[in-house]
Amino acid sequence: MFKKVLIANRGEIALRINRACHELGIATVAIFSDADRASLHVRHADEAFCVGPGPATRSYLNIPNIISAALISGCDAIHPGYGFLAENARFAEIAADHGLTFIGPTPAVINAMGDKATAKRLMQEAGVPTTPGSGIVASVDEARTVAEQIGFPVLLKATAGGGGKGMREVHAPAELPTAYATAQAEAEASFKDGRLYVEKLMVNPRHIEVQVLADEHGGVVHLGERDCSVQKPSHQKLIEEAPAAELDPGLRARLHHIATTATRAVRYTNAGTLEFLVSGSDVYFMEMNTRIQVEHPVTELIYGVDLVKEQIRIAAGESLGFTQDDLHPHGHAIEVRVNAEDPENNFAPAAGTLTTVVFPGGPGIRVDTHVYGGSIVPPFYDSMLAKIVAVGRTRESAILRMERALGETRIEGVKTTVDFCRELLGDERFRAGGVGVGWLPSLLARRAQPV
């Protein structure tokens, strides 16, 4: 097992990794930017290095400073968390070159899955159903040909994409040229890679993903699915749950089977997530995330497995301590993302000082956060302040528990998504279960209309 791990991240996930390390008896090294000097992720680590000023490109994405901090402090491994350098194969390679174990899959797999077109091809080869569409298209004309072939509406997607960036819906041929230009420009700006591909746009599908764990000795298990269909118009997830509600048992079993098959086919190791679009009885592979996900706690709560500890154990060469038969979910879990943003104003991110912070507690509640009363929300990063997770015996009891937990939550100083999410939980359609990704955007659109 590792002696000391550098945590190449910030915020709640850095704290989450710190917890897993400490519970495994591993020392930790935090990195931080000038803007995060007072964050809890710095306070709780055994050592901490400032790696740059506020902007992420100069700090949390500063590979030389991060690797240097790991070497100076005598680390033997790096955990990248999610975002930042988590899916950067080059970072994983540089770490390896300096004798540091990267806690995640191999650079080759990261690369293959990170390139959406390659990932799709590999999945097709493994017999995984994928959305009808093209490989990389070289021009608007080529995009039009593909679109007409599979039929409008289509989705233009950046092959290097993620987080909804470099993605455009195209409902008619006339919209193509503008959509192509803006998606390409956005992809170029965000990922320095403007290549696009075309996919069939599903109408209001569900976003369902399957968590997998794979060790270096051929052990592969799934830990069930998560439903992440409650997404903002920007495609960012807001509420997630496990298991998916109102899902046909046959379809559920098929998703699990596809996930483990695909994991084996690409010789995947460590924790990963296969994202699918589900529409009626159709299942289409969307992408594979080669890292821990924000929403991993809902899976942890119903399976009783600590996914971050498993990541570390796998990276240290250990075999999974369990087989598929040992894994049984209990109950239902739901997560709400508490973001510093204004739901009344297109979720515009907010920065400032948190004057009051009271999180919920009691039975069945888990809170993952790096903020506290008096802490500063810098303007540079993701707006997530906390994840509140509720577990109950049934979906209904988990939702009721989450409602009371959000009612207890008090965050003052910046606008947050707390009250908005509490309202969503009370919505009849949400309560029935199984909403699609179009549910929240259309609800917001209806609200925005004058009465």
Binding site: D34, R37, A38, G52, P53, G54, P64, I72, P378
Partner: protein, 137 residues
């Protein structure tokens, strides 16, 4: 820099200030400059007040220094012969370099001056923003 960031930088700078034992320290970071001034120990703590106050007491010795800090995370390699406190710099020169993954990141004096503090020793690991030298202009 945002105001928040200035605040945290200023706080860090105040630490170096106390260590170096003088009255004012200044640090430049790209377009922004932060200056931290230490109140004299003899000065009473005075809340701001509507009535006109006497002139604020000033520290006996006032010195003004530039702090040269590290831009990278790495190991300090001092120039040879090593720069020492009290030394006069009559030209802009390299005071040290910080080694990061085998790369040499020079640390220059940014002009002439009087070295009033050397905060680091040979081979010491430093983080981003860590004070290395203080130079009186």
């Amino acid at each position: 820099m945002t105001e928040d960031v200035i605040a945290v930088r200023a706080r860090a700078l105040a630490g170096a200030l106390a260590e170096a034992g003088f009255a004012r320290l200044r640090v430049r970071d790209g377009e922004t400059e932060i200056e931290v001034r230490r109140a004299s120990h003899s000065a009473p703590v005075r809340p701001s007040c509507a009535v006109p106050a006497e002139p604020a007491p000033r520290p006996t010795v006032e010195r003004m220094a530039d702090v040269i800090s590290s831009d990278v995370v790495g190991i300090v390699r001092l120039a040879r012969p090593a720069i020492v406190e009290g030394q006069e710099l009559d030209e802009d020169r390299e005071l040290a370099f910080v080694e990061t993954l085998g790369i040499r990141n020079p640390v220059r004096s940014r002009g002439t001056g009087h070295v009033i503090a050397v905060f680091v020793t040979e081979g010491q690991p430093v983080e981003y923003g860590q004070a290395l030298f203080a130079i009186e202009r």
